[in-house]
Symmetry: C2
Subunit: 510 residues, 2 copies
């Protein structure tokens, strides 16, 4: 992609330029174009690729500049570099810089763009035009926005859209790591239908939501116990409690704010707790028996964020901005304190695809080596549980992490120790005999430095801080297990049957 | 309160009235005024208190009626009673009733009204005027609304506002049942401040929300274990999993839709899951680093409901509309599967007053006697735990149930077996030495037939179905315990110290 920046700006001073100062400016402009703007630019880069002042003028107390650049020392960077250089030099003429007024700012990009590419209606985009492989952006930005690198993020967004379009048609990268022997054949029913029939679960009144009776809950807690005894306990993970309402501030740091919107349950707050303010809403319901949703909508603020989507981002403010002592690493923790929610597609789904679900989230952080070692020991523990305890027909596959695709972080990660290839997710899948599909019921992710960087977490030694997470979905373990083993406890693996016990039949309806 | 109803309506038939039919109408009107409308009205009630047709006329195919009433056989009830009587009688003239057109409808109420009383802007209230103890309502309703008893609910709302104003100034009824001996004096610090200092907890990024480190979580889980061993296990409660996102439909049946609005965290859903629809939101964040809240607001539906406030309403759809076999009663269950959320007042509060909290909710239902017996055994078990295990300085008090005040169900409940006086809540309070206040850290409520009625749950025997609930707030147990016992484990009751164990100090920050 060929990118060109063109910027007009005025440096506004407290007083008019004396004639001698104008000569100084001339010298500084020449020095900037030949030396200052060349700093850090690889040798051999053509002049027109690098930031340069192409015109300048002094009128009264204003120094106007026209700056052009390609991708090196971009026009807005050149502006601030020049400001830093010129301000002290003009001090001796008692010229004090008061501010910067940004005039016209154009960016053009030449390359292959996806058909119908759109840019968001950002207040600083006057207009843009895409024609014949040329994107022309007419911008109106404040100096603060230039300094905040908004133009760079805008260019990055366009590049990302082009990359995403290129990758878009291709399936997620999927590579088989392990496949168990065939173990199904005993049962081929749909476990959700059978659980409903037996009164183990009943639809909640919200979409993709179930109320679990004692029998279903026995299974959840049995799986939890197995996870405690076989994984969390032996590997030394400690329980914490992560918040379940996630404000934007968390998702801004975790990166989820880059793309999670279509699947979020959003949370809004009352504009006030004053009962008088809400009286008409309550009155409306009392008289009509209906809740006045539009009226309520006018009385709430936000959204302030949403319900838990991924479970681990809410942990990170606990260590945000901190440097962890070497001796306290690796940190190994887990959370099982509440629900996660995803706005899934409508229609009829079983408990393997729900909007509200229950997950034990395992999280660890430390050096690169520690992070990878823990992932390895988790893989071994899961392998043992699925092979020897649950006796499932299952497989494991390395997949391109969802967030890389979602956030445009496409491309190979590299790092100093060669562990870059380890960044990514391994999905555990179980066969659902009733519809012959593979259900992703478990994962282990090495997230590299994504979270430590996002939340500014460092290690005392100065080494890279990495983290990993692994989500154990209780609905999905249940769906996988029942789909393969059925409902006859005598056919279940002994240990599972012993822990679950006879289903408690509390409710008898006429 | 003196209430008067005045209604004009036309019964519209398929064809014009023959002369003979008019004579029949005259007879039916007389019969209605003297007999039909008097049915069910106590003897001795004055004529002007009872519904009566004060004028009628036949034009073409319409029979117009003017009906007046006091509180007996209210004008709209009289209208439908008359319709039921007249329709078959006019059938022999081939007059078929096509519909009812409601004309003017006035309700006047005379009594003592609270100053500044307002009615909601309901579409069927043309106008209303309150002057000198007289409220005059000018209404425009459809026949369906009359039949749906909207006028009655409107009158009830006004009566309720008058009652609420009368009770409003008075404090909640509070009656001491038990007070332990004085046990505090060892520690007088603010437990939240000390937990923060020790790194046990850290503020979450949303209001009134904490991230609990391993040490705080150890306390939560220790209390949970004590509840299991001493209360839930011995009394035979079984675990279920109640949903945590509560749609309006649940709160409509539970009665919370009558007044819970000021403290709710509301939940909204995406208008669509189409990624293209959300692209501009993601792009906006990617370029500016800010989440465009107003843009998101325009792209979401709802609110569809809110986050869990009380924990038990979400259970009830599991038994909604069912008749429970005698042998399955009483049902004893509990839920501890997620968070509850209340929009509390702002400002600085400790962990005893949070927006996001963790509660074990115990719920039971059965006959009146069963419900009261279980409440009694819970009281005994809690008493033992607070006296002998936690060794708290605590007290218990009977209070007027919050929902009775909130929903206008003020007044004594009665029932056939004399248990009515049992309906209500007992609060358990612990002394917080650091600010010398009593903290409500626990409750037991007998809710009478509120939930079974709201969700249409019946008992095979035909006896009244009652229910109760008891919320165990883990934040509040922790706040009460630490405020009284402090942080030196050697001073803690042995069993608590043994179960909690040494605090796990995982995190060491530089």
């Amino acid at each position: 992609m060929q990118t060109h920046f063109s910027l007009k700006a005025a440096l506004v001073f407290n007083t008019a330029f004396p004639v001698e100062a104008v000569t100084v400016v001339e010298g500084l402009v020449n020095e900037a174009n030949t030396t200052l703007f060349r700093r850090g630019v690889p040798a051999g880069v053509a002049d027109e690729e690098v930031g340069r002042i192409t015109a300048w003028d002094v009128k009264e107390n204003e120094l106007t500049l026209e700056i052009e650049s390609g991708p090196y020392t971009r026009a807005h960077d050149a502006l601030f570099r020049f400001r830093k250089q010129i301000a002290p030099k003009l001090g001796r003429f008692r010229l004090g810089l008061r501010g910067i007024e940004v005039g016209a700012f154009h960016i053009s990009m030449r390359g292959e763009f996806p058909a119908g590419m759109r840019l968001p209606a950002l207040p600083f985009i006057n207009s843009y035009r895409l024609e014949g492989g040329l994107l022309e952006l007419d911008l109106r930005m404040e100096a603060a926005e230039l300094e905040d690198r908004v133009p760079d993020r805008l260019v990055h967004l366009v590049e990302e859209k082009c990359q995403a379009a290129e990758y878009g048609g291709k399936a997620e990268h999927w590579e088989l790591c392990f496949e168990s022997k065939k173990r199904t054949g005993r049962y081929s029913g749909d476990p959700t239908e059978e659980m409903i029939r037996r009164g183990w679960i009943k639809h909640g009144l919200s979409r993709g939501q179930w109320i679990h009776g004692p029998q279903s809950t026995q299974l959840f807690r049995a799986f939890e116990q197995i996870v405690f005894e076989e994984i969390i306990g032996p590997l030394g993970f400690s329980e914490m409690i992560f918040p379940k309402l996630v404000p934007w501030e968390v998702w801004k740091h975790s990166g989820h704010a880059k793309g999670v919107y279509p699947e979020i349950y959003y949370v809004c707050t009352p504009k006030t707790r004053d009962p008088a303010y809400w009286e008409e809403v309550a009155d409306w319901f009392k008289v009509t028996g209906e809740v006045p949703v539009d009226l309520i909508r006018s009385k709430i603020d936000g959204p302030i964020g949403g319900l838990t989507y991924a479970q681990c981002p809410s942990f990170w403010p606990f260590v945000q901005g901190e440097t962890l002592a070497n001796g306290s690493l690796p940190i190994k923790i887990f959370d099982r304190s509440g629900t996660s929610h995803r706005y899934e597609s409508g229609g009829i789904h079983g408990i393997e695809r729900v909007d509200e679900f229950h997950r034990i989230e395992i999280l660890w952080l430390g050096t690169v080596e520690q992070t990878c070692e823990i992932a390895d020991s988790l893989h071994q523990a899961y392998h043992r549980v699925f092979e020897d305890i649950l006796e499932l027909e299952w497989r494991a596959a390395k997949v391109t992490p969802w967030f890389m695709a979602q956030e445009g972080m496409i491309g190979a990660e590299t790092d100093s120790c060669g562990c870059g290839a380890r960044v990514g997710t391994t999905d555990y899948e179980a066969l659902l005999p009733y519809n012959k599909s593979w259900l992703e019921f478990q994962n282990v992710s090495i997230n590299g430095d994504k979270y430590p960087k996002g939340f500014s977490v460092k290690i005392q030694s100065g080494k890279d801080c990495w983290s990993g997470c692994s989500g154990i979905g209780l609905e999905r373990w249940t769906a996988a297990f029942l789909a393969q083993k059925g409902f006859d406890l005598s056919g279940w693996p002994d240990r599972v049957a012993a822990i679950v016990g006879e289903p408690k039949e509390l409710f008898k309806f006429l």
